[in-house]
């Protein structure tokens, strides 16, 4: 057992020896007994217990409304297309069909830049 192990053991047993090492250890052991400032809110226990025991939703109304809205939109769109005899056209963007390879290339480059950006951000680690 080296000197440090001995002093640590002595302090744990309540016997603080003399010397600068022992003094330093005494301060360390005292600080280690200090409570952390990681307090949770006063209502934490009540809130979490209520959340855990809350009755499970038998039917997810949020999803139902979202799906219904989406369906209504599709139906309305279909009706509007049929009623107005709408024919899809590129209109003013017709000229883009002459540069289809360029458009595809631009989309790929933008997507690639986004991907590289995301990768670089992810690999920027925060060390603690």
């Amino acid at each position: 057992m080296n000197e440090d192990e001995l002093i640590q053991q002595q302090i744990e047993n309540g016997n603080v020896p003399d010397g600068i090492d022992a003094d330093a250890y005494r301060l360390v052991f005292r600080a280690l007994k200090t409570n952390l400032k990681t307090e949770l809110p006063d209502d934490f226990a009540k809130r979490v217990s209520s959340l855990a025991l809350a009755p499970k939703k038998s039917f997810d109304w949020d999803k139902f409304y979202l799906f219904s809205g989406f369906l209504a939109l599709i139906v309305a769109l279909g009706y509007a297309v049929a009623a107005t005899e709408f024919a899809f056209s590129m209109g003013s963007f017709q000229f883009l069909s002459n540069y289809s390879y360029f458009v595809i290339f631009a989309i790929v480059v933008v997507a690639l830049l986004q991907w590289i950006d995301k990768k670089i951000l992810k690999t920027t680690n925060t060390q603690f």
């Binding site: 301060l27 007994k33 409570n35």
Partner: protein, 183 residues
């Protein structure tokens, strides 16, 4: 049947009051575990909440092979580690160079009163690697023994002992540099 067994049994039966009591009893332990690994205080509460929801979900499977506190600490440790992994925060391995960096860190020149020293030692502890902080916290604040800490963190008992000894020794060396300036 001890208190924890009775409490766990009530919680498993869906007793909200019992679960609230269980949370109150162990929220300090969970906050300490998570707080030692996750520095962001906003994430702390969310992770602690997830830990207790997992405790509630799994408590009927808990068979008291270990103490309830150790089991809860294990869940808290895993949740905190998973959180930092998800956020891609690197938990650095502990190497000899860490000790050099730790010792080379700035120290105030002026002499310090003991109560100021306490704050300084606490800030030194914050600079230790999470593995050291967890072991120190469970041992000194939660009064867990080596075996319980090993069970909670998945570290071998020898590693727990080594980390505890090494972390305290590093802190002592650092404190000595402060004390030296007082003389």
């Amino acid at each position: 049947m001890n208190d924890d067994q009775a409490l766990a049994s009530y919680v498993a039966q869906g007793n909200q009051h019992a679960f609230e009591l269980l949370i109150r009893k162990y929220q300090r332990l969970v906050a300490h575990m998570v707080g030692r690994i996750v520095n962001n205080s906003e994430d702390l509460e969310e992770i602690c909440q997830d830990v207790f929801l997992k405790v509630y979900e799994k408590i009927s499977e808990f068979n008291f092979q270990s103490k309830l506190s150790t089991w809860i600490a294990t869940i808290a440790y895993r949740h905190a580690i998973n959180h930092v992994r998800k956020k891609r925060i690197e938990v650095a391995d502990i190497d000899e160079k860490f000790a050099e960096r730790f010792m080379a860190d700035d120290s105030p020149a002026e002499a310090l009163e003991e109560n100021e020293m306490n704050s300084i030692v606490l800030s030194m502890i914050e600079k230790l690697p999470p593995q050291y902080k967890i072991v120190l916290t469970l041992y000194h604040l939660e009064d867990m023994n080596y075996a319980e800490i090993g069970e909670a963190t998945g570290m071998p008992e020898g590693t727990v002992k080594n980390y505890l000894f090494r972390a305290r020794q590093l802190l002592k060396e650092k404190v000595k540099t402060y004390l030296g300036k007082e003389v």
